[in-house]
Symmetry: C2
Subunit: 322 residues, 2 copies
C-alpha cells in the first residue's frame, strides 16, 4: 500500500498526456460573460488558484475564487461558474453549483464522477470527465488540463499548446532527485513556503501536499505582503522552522533571501523549469508531490491515508442534508 500514491505520481506525464485528449461534452449556451467564478476545494481549489494567477494578467473580466459553500452576491446570469471536484461529491462545491444554477449562471464542470457528473449530464452542462480511480490530489495534472480545455470552449485561453505543457513532466528522474534532497532538508521542520503573489498557488500546493501526504504542519507566506507584517516574526524565529523559497525574477524575492540568510534561517531556494507561469507551476507541483511522499517515508507515515479528512466528510454527510 505504501507506494500506491507514488505510483500515480510517477505516471503524471502519461496521465497529463491522456488528459490533453479528453473530450469536452456539451456546448456553452453562450461565450460572453461579465465575470468568471472558479469553485473548488483542496487540490481542485489549487487548480482554481493557478488559473486565477494566469488570468490576473490576461483576463478582461473579473475572476473570483470560491473555496466555500457560498457564492458571491455578484454571481448572476452573466456569470460563468467553473466547478472542479475530483470525486464529484464535494459538498461545498456542489452547493456553489446549485446556487449558481438558481441565479441563472452558466455552469461548467470538471470531475471524475459522483453527483456533479450526474448533474452535468441531466442538465446538459458543459463538462470534462477525468480518469476515475485515482487519489484526488494525485489527479492534479488531469484536473488542471481538463479545466484549461473546458475554459477554452468559452474562449478563455490560458495555454495554446497543452501537449507542450505536459513535456515539463517528462524528466521524472531529475524531479525525483530534487525532491529527495528537499525531503531530506525539510524532514524534521515546520516548513514555511514563501513565494511572490503569482506563484502563491504553487506555495499552497506544497503546503497541502505536506499536510496530506506527509502529515506535517506547514505555513505559506506571500511577498510583498510578507514584508509588511510576517517579516517581524522572523526577528525571533522558532528553531523548528525551515524555509522553502520559490524563486522568481523579482526584486522582493532577492530581498527576502538576503533577509532570511542574514537571520540565519535554514532555507532552500527552488528554481523552476518551464517556459511560462503555468508550466513552472506544473513542474513545481510535481516536485511538491514527490517531496511530500518521500517525506512520508522518512517520517514513517502512510502517504495515502487522510483519516481526518474522512472524519470531516462523514461529519458533513451526517449534518448537512444536501
Amino acid at each position: 500500500m505504501r507506494f500506491v500514491i507514488l505510483d500515480i505520481y510517477l505516471r503524471w506525464y502519461e496521465l497529463a498526456l491522456r488528459a490533453t485528449n479528453f473530450e469536452v461534452y456539451g456546448s456553452p449556451r453562450k461565450d460572453l460573460f461579465q465575470n468568471l467564478i472558479l469553485s473548488g476545494m483542496g487540490g481542485s481549489g489549487i487548480v482554481c488558484d493557478m488559473i486565477y494567477s494566469v488570468l490576473y494578467s490576461s483576463s478582461e473580466i473579473p475572476v473570483t475564487i470560491v473555496k466555500d459553500f457560498q457564492i458571491p452576491r455578484w454571481t448572476s446570469k452573466n456569470s460563468l461558474l467553473c466547478a472542479i471536484s475530483y470525486s464529484g461529491n464535494t459538498l461545498e462545491t456542489l452547493n456553489t453549483v446549485s446556487k449558481a444554477l438558481e441565479v441563472g449562471a452558466e455552469v461548467c464542470i470538471v470531475t471524475s464522477g459522483g453527483k456533479l457528473l450526474e448533474l452535468a449530464r441531466v442538465r446538459g452542462l458543459p463538462h470534462v470527465v477525468v480518469d476515475s480511480g485515482l487519489i484526488p490530489r494525485a489527479a492534479f495534472p488531469q484536473l488542471l488540463i481538463a479545466t484549461l480545455k473546458l475554459l477554452s470552449t468559452y474562449r478563455i485561453n490560458l495555454c495554446s499548446d497543452l501537449k507542450s505543457l505536459t513535456n515539463i513532466l517528462r524528466d521524472v528522474e531529475s524531479v525525483s532527485k530534487t525532491s529527495k534532497e528537499l525531503a531530506e532538508f525539510l524532514k524534521n521542520s515546520l516548513p514555511v513556503i514563501i513565494s511572490n503573489t503569482r506563484f502563491y498557488p504553487l506555495a499552497m500546493r506544497f503546503k497541502d501536499e505536506f499536510n496530506e501526504n506527509s502529515k506535517m504542519m506547514a505555513k505559506v507566506e506571500v511577498i510583498p505582503e510578507w514584508a509588511h507584517n510576517d517579516i517581524v516574526g522572523w526577528e525571533l524565529p522558532l528553531g523548528v522552522v525551515k524555509s522553502l523559497v520559490i524563486w522568481d525574477d523579482d526584486l522582493v524575492i532577492e530581498f527576502l533571501i538576503d533577509y532570511l540568510r542574514g537571520r540565519g534561517v535554514d532555507l532552500q531556494v527552488l528554481k523552476l523549469l518551464g517556459d511560462d507561469l503555468l508550466s513552472k507551476m506544473l513542474y513545481g507541483s510535481y516536485i511538491a508531490g514527490l517531496t511530500s511522499v518521500y517525506l512520508a517515508e522518512l517520517r514513517g507515515v502512510r502517504a495515502e491515508e487522510t483519516k481526518s479528512i474522512d472524519m470531516y466528510k462523514e461529519f458533513l454527510k451526517r449534518r448537512v442534508n444536501h
Copy 2:
C-alpha cells in the same frame, strides 16, 4: 516609549468617533462601475479584506483585493479602485494607483498624507484624510471608517450607522481583561488562528498584530478549506502550537473545535460581541491589538519597533525608481 502604541489602542473609541466626522473631499466622476478593486498592504490591506468579506454577500459587482504592485488586467475605465495607505507612501499601493489612472479607472484614496494625498489633491481624486502622527497599524479603526465613508459616496453602503459601529469599542476594560488572558494563554506558543471564510480578515489581523507588535510567528487557517488539507497536519501536531478559534455560528466551526479537542490541542474559542459582521470584526481587532501589546510586554520586546519592515522599505526606496 514602551506604552506609546498601547496609548493609541486605548484611545480607539475616541479615534473611531472622530473618524465618523471625517470629510470626503472631491466628488466621484460617476457612481456606476462594473467592478471594484481594493488596494492596500498590511493593516490597510486588512481593511480591504474586511470590506471584501461584507461585500461578498451584498455587492452586485465583483470585488478584487490587490496586495501587490500589479493591478489585475480587468481594471478598466469601468472600474473603481479604492487605495488605502496610512503613510501615503506605500510603494505597492502607489504603483496600483498609477496603473489604474493609466487605464482610466476611477480612483479614490484613504490616507494620512504622503504622495497619495498629494496625488489626490493634484488630480482631484475623491479622498478622506485620517489623523496623522499615529502608528499605521494602530490607526486601523480610522482607516476602516474612512473607507466606509468614502465608498458610501459611490453608493457602496456597508454600514448605515457609523456612530453605532464605534460603540463596540467603548468597553475598554472588558476588552483589556479578555486580551490579558489571551496573551497569557498564547505567550510561549506558535499561535494558529482559525476562522471561517467570512471572519478570515479578523484571523489575519490577529496574525499581523502578533507579528508586528509581539515579534511572534503565527499562522492562519480558514474553514472549510482547512478540513481538506491542513487538518491532516494536526494528526501529529507540533508541541509549540496553540490554537485560537474565532467563533461563528457555523457547523464546520463546531467540527473544528471537537476535532482539535479530540487531538488534545491547547485552544481557546473567542466569541465576539457585535450586531453584525463588521462590528464583530472591529471588536475582534481591538482584542487582537491589545493582546499583541500585552504579549510584547510578556516577551520583553518593544511593540512599537518593526525594524525589519523599515529595512524592507529602505531596500525598496533604493532599488525602485518610482
